[in-house]
């Protein structure tokens, strides 16, 4: 369960050789995993489906979930896993929340209709109340998944419960990091947590408050289906066929995420995933976009995008190192 230092360095060295991680970043990652100052985490699940928690449990590329839970993170509240229920769980949560400085992870949207009664956190407390009581003492707030980031499917028109993403409720909060996706990729969460532990500050974010580390590359620009035909896309005539699926509804031209590189469901430490939506011949849904799902639907219908003169340089697969200087990117106007 705990990776040995030798194994870690062996895998990481291979990753460096493949141009995937800068050496300095590796050292900091290893440090982070050994930190005796395990950061406290409070994980709140609101109006969502728990898919982001299940996705987190699939983490292995940077570190396994059990390694993180047993050795690195001090997870004070997480409803899927914790031993305690009811009053025992809530009193432990409130004791943890009384001391400032934890990482608050919220998964699921916050419904504001019916005075918040569409989602109860615990007896007598709606999810809106819970968020507002837990936010003040948090050092960092991670909106995990599309629903917590921007409302997601829960906010799909006509938004029967008045669901909102965290940014809409908390306003322009400099502690807020959005890690969208439906679900969020475990690496995006784990990589961000490692950054927070290493650097003690929010990583460089884009205008939607998403970490640039994971959300700065357009899917279409790194898609093998486009590149392999020497820049002349061959269009798939139907689903399940070879070729670019732009006209079948693929939202890759609208979407910034590293899925073509990182892929999904990693094979192991330091390894990328076994598959991803486009490689499986199904179109990108644009699930990391602030306007997902309504702006990205219908999923199988072409959505024109302004053409960009992006020429793949062949270096897109180099992941940026951790610890990029703070200050890149402008403060985000929150929705």
């Amino acid at each position: 369960m705990r990776i040995s230092r030798r194994d870690f360095l062996r895998v990481a060295a291979a990753a460096v050789a493949a141009g995937r991680l800068a050496p300095a970043a590796l050292a900091r990652l290893e440090e982070a995993l050994r930190s005796p100052n395990a950061p406290r985490v409070i994980w709140l699940q609101a109006s969502g489906c728990d898919g982001c928690a299940i996705s987190f449990l699939n983490s292995v590329h940077y570190a396994t979930a059990d390694d993180l839970l047993l050795n690195t993170l001090d997870v004070k509240f997480q409803s899927n896993l914790q031993a305690a229920a009811g009053d025992l769980a809530i009193s432990a949560l409130q004791a943890a929340a009384a001391q400032p400085g934890y990482i608050l992870i919220v998964e699921g949207a916050i419904p504001t209709g019916a005075n918040g009664r569409f989602c109860r956190a615990w007896t007598g407390t709606t999810m809106v109340d819970a968020l507002q009581s837990l936010a003040p003492n948090a050092a960092f707030i991670v909106a995990l998944g599309a629903c917590a980031s921007y409302g997601g499917v829960t906010r799909g028109a006509p938004n029967p419960t008045g669901a909102k993403g965290l940014g809409q409720i908390l306003g322009n909060d400099s502690r807020l990091i959005n890690i969208p996706g439906c679900p969020a990729h475990p690496d995006w969460l784990v990589g961000t947590l490692v950054y927070l532990i290493n650097n003690g500050r929010v990583p460089p974010l884009d205008q939607h408050r998403r970490p640039l580390e994971f959300f700065s590359r357009r899917i279409h620009d790194n898609c093998f289906k486009r590149r392999k035909y020497c820049g002349q896309p061959v269009f798939a005539p139907q689903l399940g066929e070879v070729g670019c699926m732009e006209y079948l509804g693929c939202k890759g031209k609208h979407t910034y995420a590293d899925c073509p590189i990182r892929k999904w469901n990693s094979r192991g430490e330091g390894q990328y995933g076994v598959n991803w939506c486009v490689a499986a011949r199904s179109p990108c849904l644009g699930c990391v976009n602030p306007n997902f799902p309504d702006g990205m639907s219908p999923f199988f219908v072409y959505l024109p995008a302004p053409e960009r003169p992006a020429q793949p340089t062949g270096r897109e697969e180099e992941a940026a190192p951790f610890g990029r200087p703070f200050g890149a990117g402008t403060p985000a106007p929150l929705r």
Binding site: A85, F118, W122, P160
Partner: protein
Amino acid sequence: MPTTLTIDPVTRIEGHLEIEVTVDLVGGQQQVVDAKSAGTMFRGFEIILVGRDPRDAALYTQRICGVCPVSHAAAACLNLDAAFGVQPPDNGRILRNLVQGANHLESNILHFYHLSLLDYVNTTGMLDRAPWIPRYNTPDMIGGSTAATLIEHYVAALQIRRKTQQMGALFGAKLPCVGSLVVGGCTEVVTSGKVAEFRRLLTELRSFVDNIYLADVNTLVGAFPNYYNLGVGYRNLLSFGAFDLDASGNNRLFPAGRYTDGQTGTVDPQQIIEYVSHGWYTPASGGLNPAQGVTEPDPDKPGAYTWLKAPRYAGKAHEAGPLARMWIANEYTRGVSALDRIVARALETKKIADAMDGWLDQLTPGAPSYAPSTIPQQATGIGLTEAPRGALGHWMTITNGAISRYQVITPTAWNASPRDDANQLGPIEAALLGTPVTDVDQPIEVLRVVHTFDPCLACAVHMVRPGERQSRPRIMVRQSPL
């Protein structure tokens, strides 16, 4: 003197559940004399789906639940296949089964180890950190070296379930929330390389199931045999059947059926009625079959205590789940109780895993897995399958090429339902009656019984149906040939 205990939130489930039990002395033993099961979150998927492109249903409905998304994709695809009038090629049918099977296996392993085992094991000295503390500590919990072994397996199971999701993603695109299950089949194609990798992972998983999971369930049975007499409930079981073994639609790994008042029977979806007397919905919404459901939420309704409705089959509460499936398949008929649910879940995990190996042999590299179709202007469809937690049904009406109605009844809606209009308790509520509560500050027995149903509340409460005062959404449906 009766005492009321509330457990809110119930943890180690999916979603938001409150359990309230009334406890009193009966024959000298403190036990549950009344129970209420309440879903405390509500999102409104059926309103959200109205007006949308029907093909999107296979993707939207997966977001009802991130623990069993593939079940919803499978039900939606069966629904869409029926409405569109398309039949997947064999490869497509088998790939869907393999991805859905992978989801079942991962969910069942997660349930035994990570959602329920902590109710039975003293983890002192092994997991002495959050989130495993604070915890309940009762004298009947397993300790010593047996506990150490179980916790080692708990940690190993985290890896095995991750690999099972990896296995499913080989053909599913990613997990959770697959991309490749669509109307007409599966967009992924069969290659011998993928089959080999899938089989390698499946072999590792089967070894875990045969050598570790089943052995650990045996250990639990040996330590808590009294739970064969607890958590019994009505003994009514319901299965919609799952995993088509051929193209006929009549030959499934788990057949459809039910067991009502000691008699086996067939399933007619017309016999399903949902009641809302105790749910936060207006009275006009009750007593309806899902095909005609019209519902408005009413969060202020007096006497109501849950966002769940009360589905009943021919007026009776039925439980869904692995026990129901295995019972109707005639593979497990020892009894209905808390422990029977745990044992049946383990046995079905082996059954599904073993079957999946055979399904891999039936795949044909190079043959199609997808059949194209076009969106019908007017159509209806129904998709019935089994999620890990039990019977799952999707119903759809397409009008002018867009979804005009979409209904879902999930297994936890059956299991965690409230009282119906005749004041009959839901299955979990009924199963809790008679459960001993030794220590009201540590209602571990109640948690144990509830957990055997593997509750998934995001599934159970996902809906509000369009009512008169809610306007239809105006999502534009842009059509392009598939």
